[in-house]
């Protein structure tokens, strides 16, 4: 069933655990990098162009003019309304994620300027529970919309998510209409929304606010799919095209406006911000 994707993807596309392979090893060409090398290269492989995951804070540092970012809603945290317990309690997973990532949730929002253009940022982070969207992520994204409306500045949204956060049950599904309603408020206020889809943008996030940007660009090689390749294969036994679900296929099929390598994204956003100013 297609809804399995939400967590399948989260697991499948999670960075491999460190004990198996060093996270700075390029999965495409096998090149190794020191942390500072990768950081200087915006987490893009200098050999083959593979885009490593980029954390929310690093991305904000890269997009925003120095010293302009003012975080909002930093204190919003997930609760555990279902007292969800599978092999481990959800509460424990949350605590661990915060500890490992230094983030309170899978999204960071705030005000910033990009090349002097004031913007609102809403940036997801895949390392926090696979970027999954629960009540906290939904709330933070919605507040970013409101803040953009209040200030009359464009919203720049960066997505990276395996989908809805299963551990919050039906409330995680409700973050789809919640964020959609927030974007509709944005639309009604004639505030632009520019979306950058990073790997992976799937399931519940793709099926809600991620797909509603006025202009949508994607990172090269990003998986952008409602249902990921493994579940499609398992469910339908179809033969998958080589680039199934990748940004390149999505461009060909008309779902996104452009694929922009990370190094060019800031300039691309600045150009768009001038157009929507």
């Amino acid at each position: 069933m297609s809804d399995q994707i939400d967590v399948h993807v989260e697991h499948r596309d999670a960075p491999p655990p460190p004990e198996r392979k060093h996270p700075n090893t390029c999965p495409s060409c096998g090149s190794h990098y020191r942390d500072d090398e990768l950081e200087a290269a915006l987490w893009v492989c200098g050999q083959c162009g593979h885009h490593f995951p980029m954390g929310a804070r690093a991305r904000i540092d890269w997009y925003a003019d120095e010293g302009t970012f003012v975080e909002e809603a930093a204190d919003v945290r997930s609760e555990d309304p279902l007292e969800f317990f599978d092999l481990r309690p959800y509460a424990e997973r949350l605590a661990e994620a915060e500890l490992n990532t230094g983030l309170g949730e899978a999204a960071v929002i705030g005000q910033a300027a990009i090349d002097g253009h004031p913007v609102q940022l809403a940036v997801m982070d895949f390392t926090f529970m696979g970027g999954s969207m629960g009540s906290a992520v939904g709330e933070k994204f919605s507040r970013a919309c409101d803040s953009a409306i209040e200030r009359g500045v464009p919203l720049v949204s960066v997505t990276s998510s395996g989908g809805a956060r299963m551990q919050e049950g039906i409330l995680s599904l409700m973050q789809l209409p919640k964020t959609v309603c927030a974007v509709e408020d944005l639309h009604d206020a004639h505030v632009p929304m520019l979306t950058v889809m990073a790997h992976p943008t799937t399931a519940g996030v793709l099926a809600s606010f991620a797909s509603l940007g006025d202009v949508t660009i994607a990172e090269p090689g990003a998986l952008i799919a409602f249902t990921g390749p493994r579940v499609v294969q398992q469910t339908t036994r179809e033969k998958l095209p080589d680039d199934f679900g990748l940004a390149e296929q999505n461009l060909r099929f008309g779902h996104i406006d452009a694929i922009v390598p990370r190094a060019d994204q800031r300039a691309h956003l600045v150009r768009l911000l001038r157009l929507f100013a």
């Binding site: 809804d3 919003v76 906290a136 919605s142 299963m166 049950g169 039906i170 209409p177 099926a207």
Partner: protein
């Protein structure tokens, strides 16, 4: 636990609702009374066994589907076909008809009763084209002021190569956005399986109801079990953990009411099930029709924007 203890427990649970953000002013008038009326229903069994019974009944092969209700509740039914682009998706039925003396637009998943129909309708799993068709009918409803009734009954949106290539994620997002834009009254009811994005795509309504034995969930119990317990056989355990049943959805503020079914489940008596569903839909519509369209939209968005539990 005595019956008295149970009721006390339920009352506590109900009062606990007011801690949820969606009850902090975002809800419509009369909400408290409506929930009050649900108290009786909340006395029902909410054990893990009861949840699993809902899962089984929601998927029961004899459960009434959208067209069974259309036959019994709608006069002058005219089905509308096609997305005006590339397909007519049989998994999602759309049309116009008379219901309680007014014209409504109806949108509903249709699983199919026999093998051939099930294949033709992809077991109720819609392609993007199905959601585009639904949006077209919503636009007609908006132009002519017809209320929109949607009946949700899908394991999820179709998970295939073509569905992805035609933009499944975007279609589900835009269908929700369209519902968030409407200024006509909208009522959705989960009448069987309310599976993930494929369900919520047509359920961004002023009133969201669930039949007593319907389920509404972000993932199937099997899918959840396969991932978290690494064993699809643990579906029952998974269902108990994420609680897709109507009573828990009501408790979490995700739905606005529970629609009774005939004793033993809707499959036992389609006529009675239709009568009960019809009554609930009509009550919801009549109440909504008193509110101006712009205000309906404002409240609808506020309701969904209030959903979730966070600190």
């Amino acid at each position: 636990m005595t019956e008295r203890d149970q009721e006390l427990n339920l009352r506590r649970r109900l009062s606990g609702l007011s801690r949820l953000p969606l009850l902090r002013g975002a809800r419509v008038d009369g909400e408290a009374q409506r929930l009050e009326r649900q108290l009786e229903r909340l006395k029902a069994d909410t054990s893990d066994e009861a949840i699993w019974r809902s899962v089984e009944l929601a998927r029961h092969a004899d459960r009434p589907y959208t067209m069974d209700y259309v036959e019994r509740l709608i006069d002058d039914w005219v089905e509308l076909h096609g997305d005006r682009g590339r397909a007519d998706d049989g998994a999602l039925v759309t049309g116009l008809g008379r219901f309680g003396g007014r014209t409504i637009a109806l949108i509903g998943h249709q699983k199919g009763r026999d093998v051939k129909e099930r294949l033709d309708r992809q077991f109720g799993m819609a392609y993007p084209e199905g959601y585009v068709k639904a949006m077209r009918v919503m636009e007609i409803a908006e132009r002519f002021g017809f209320p929109v009734v949607s009946l949700v009954d899908t394991p999820g949106a179709y998970p295939g190569v073509a569905a992805e290539q035609h933009g499944q994620g975007g279609a589900i997002a835009r269908s929700q956005a369209e519902m968030a834009r409407l200024t006509v009254p909208t009522v959705a009811c989960i009448i069987g399986e309310g599976g993930s994005g494929g369900a919520v795509a047509i359920a961004v309504a002023d009133r969201v109801l669930m039949q007593e034995n319907a389920i509404y969930s972000v993932i199937t119990p099997e899918g959840c079990a396969a991932i978290l317990w690494r064993d699809a056989g643990e579906a029952k355990k998974a269902a108990a953990a994420f609680k897709p049943d109507a009573l828990h959805c009501l408790e979490l503020g995700v739905i606005d009411g529970v629609v009774a079914e005939p004793a033993g489940g809707a499959q036992t008596n389609h006529d009675e099930a239709a009568q009960l569903l019809g009554g609930a839909l009509l009550e919801a519509l009549e109440e909504l029709e008193e509110t101006p369209g712009e205000e309906l939209r404002r409240r609808r968005r506020a309701k969904f924007r209030g959903m979730g539990v966070y600190a």
